[in-house]
């Protein structure tokens, strides 16, 4: 299991209502349903991922996040989750605002563009970083709004969103060792737990 999904499951209370934006193959919702009796819905636009959700009996609704969450009522979910999709949105700040309107809390994960590998790549090759985590060339990447942990926290401050928890995840050993001291330099993925 992806480490970030593990941590997210810990932050979600049993028998609550969860909306998962960009739910992929529905794995997280399936786990939450099975182990925490969570009633969940996923939003997804990828056709194959939608079929995988249907096949495993996960509620999936074809909906483009860039068109907003206008169809969801205020406070209609306990938690709104979005894993690794923030950087693909046209207006990420508006979507996070919407997540906190629709849900009491939200959990967001995204890749850290301030991680040392990305900085190194850009500094020394002078080209946009391409890595295992972000394997796309700049022109065909779905990731159009990169940010660093620090950038994201500035956004939270400006909008007066409260950060309940933050967890930083790293793949490599060196990053794992230093991520707690210098998360913005060594963290690969951040998991933020926000509330209004």
């Amino acid at each position: 299991m992806r480490v970030d999904l593990d941590i997210i499951q810990e932050w979600i209370a049993p028998e609550t209502r969860v909306l998962d934006l960009g739910c992929g193959d529905g794995f997280l919702l399936e786990q939450l349903g099975r182990h925490k009796q969570v009633s969940g819905y996923g939003l997804e636009i990828d056709h194959q991922q939608i079929e995988r959700c249907l096949q495993r009996g996960v509620n999936v609704v074809e909906q483009n996040l860039d068109r907003g969450l206008g169809n969801f009522a205020d406070d209609s979910f306990d938690t709104v989750v979005m894993t690794q999709a923030l950087q693909t949105l046209r207006q990420p700040h508006l979507v996070v605002g919407e997540m906190l309107r629709v849900g009491r809390e939200c959990i967001i994960t995204f890749p850290n563009f301030g991680q040392w590998k990305a900085r190194w790549h850009l500094a020394f090759s002078g080209r946009m970083p391409v890595s295992d985590l972000l394997p796309y060339e700049w022109y065909d990447t779905p990731n159009i709004h990169f940010c660093t942990f620090r950038d994201f926290e500035v956004l939270c401050r400006q909008n007066r969103w409260t950060i309940l928890h933050r967890q930083v995840v790293s793949g490599s050993r060196i990053s794992a060792t230093f991520k707690d001291f210098l998360p913005n330099l060594f963290g690969e993925t951040a998991i933020y737990h926000l509330t209004r």
């Binding site: 009633s39 939608i50 079929e51 249907l54 495993r56 509620n59 999936v60 609704v61 074809e62």
Partner: protein
């Protein structure tokens, strides 16, 4: 693996067809109280079944037909039949409604004209065809009569009730009227209620029929007449609205069937689309009953899922106990994707399990009947999940 087999009569039959099917009919003597206040003392329902009912009777699927549909949804009645049933694209071995896994029941609704009791049947009180005196039916009347058919077949709970368009309205009504009698509700290209524009199209179609001099105030059968041209025009109007501008354009453009625009030549011109529409109207009016057409379009107009729930679809859906799949088609402007999204939103607000996919298609409302790869895949994935629930546990 061979993809087709030759049946005894020498006709080639695709391996994913249910093959030759025979309609059955069931007679009901227990009176059926109707939403309009009248009672049908006795009635007949014609139906077909495909596949085998399993031992615990948990794999039954009900197909609800749309405006001009009937019981013949899949397979052929005889080897020489030119066309298979109306939903043969999606019912059969290995198809989304997989007859290797499901026992499929498809009936002709009350008020129909393909064998079930309707306006062209004989009214037992008068000995004459019902004609316009046949009771005005609503979607819920169909659902109640379908429940009686389920009783007759020994089906306590459907694995799924499935319908497109007007059929989708029946499926939703099932979820509210008999919440314990279905586990899944599949609603394709449907709506919570028709829009004013939709009612307007239906009214124009009805007017075409009733203003035909051969309509005889609905008693044309007694007078041995048939308002064929009125029904043909009604069908033409309907048909245009079931297709999209783009779909018609792709199929016909401005192609001419006859005549010419050459300068100096006076000759009547006929566009391909004209002849196509006339053909559609003609064939339909030879095989469908005008009073049934009026009855079915009225049932469409009158349907409003949430009417008795204070017009609140969320309150209505809070009674449901099944899972839902909603599908819509991008170019469908009579039952636009937005209508399906309203259903999805209401279901989510009512905390009901629902999935939704919007299928890209240029084919308008008719897309729900036509082959489409993504439609097939989505439908298949969902029904596969339904079948997995009904499959016996392997230890």
């Amino acid at each position: 693996m061979p993809s087709e087999t030759v049946n005894p009569s020498g006709q080639i039959q695709p391996a994913d067809s249910v093959g030759i099917v025979t309609p059955q009919s069931a007679r009901f003597d227990r009176p059926l109280e109707l939403a309009c206040g009248r009672t049908l003392r006795e009635y007949t329902l014609v139906y077909e079944t495909y596949g085998e009912l399993n031992a615990d009777k948990s794999n039954a699927v009900l197909i609800c037909h749309a405006l001009s549909g009937h019981h013949h949804a899949a397979g052929r009645h005889s080897p020489g039949d030119k066309r298979p049933g109306w939903w043969d694209n999606y019912i059969g071995p290995g198809k989304p409604i997989d007859t290797d896994k499901f026992f499929v029941v498809s009936l002709n609704n009350l008020g129909g004209c393909h064998g079930s009791t309707g306006p062209s049947s004989i009214n037992p009180d008068t000995g004459k065809p019902w004609g316009r005196d046949f009771p005005i039916l609503r979607v819920r009347d169909w659902v109640h009569s379908q429940a009686r058919l389920a009783d007759l077949l020994g089906i306590e709970q459907w694995a799924a009730v499935i319908g497109g368009s007007l059929g989708g309205m029946q499926a939703m009504r099932w979820a509210l009227e008999y919440p314990d009698r279905l586990r899944h509700c599949v609603v394709i290209a449907s709506a919570l209620k028709l829009s004013a524009q939709n009612i307007a199209f239906n009214e124009t179609a009805r007017q075409a029929i009733t203003s035909d001099p051969d309509f005889c105030d609905g008693h044309y059968l007694e007078r041995e007449k048939l308002p064929r041209s009125g029904l043909a025009v009604a069908r033409m109007i309907g048909h245009i609205t079931y297709l999209s501008d783009d779909g018609l354009g792709r199929k016909f453009g401005r192609e001419l069937r006859s005549g010419t625009f050459e300068q100096g030549v006076e000759e009547e011109v006929e566009f391909q689309v004209q002849s196509y529409l006339r053909y559609q109207g003609d064939t339909f009016s030879g095989s469908f009953d005008p009073n049934t057409y009026i009855l079915m379009t009225r049932a469409l107009d009158y349907f409003d899922l949430a009417r008795e729930y204070d017009h609140d679809p969320v309150a209505a859906f809070s009674h449901a106990r099944c899972r839902f799949l909603l599908l819509s088609f991008t170019s469908d402007w009579r039952f636009a994707p937005q209508r399906s999204r309203e259903i999805v939103d209401a279901l989510i607000r009512a905390n009901q399990p629902v999935s939704y996919a919007e299928i890209e298609s240029p084919m308008g409302h008719d897309a729900f009947l036509l082959p489409s790869e993504r439609y097939r895949r989505v439908f298949f994935a969902y029904m596969n999940g339904v079948a997995a629930e009904t499959a016996p546990e392997v230890n």
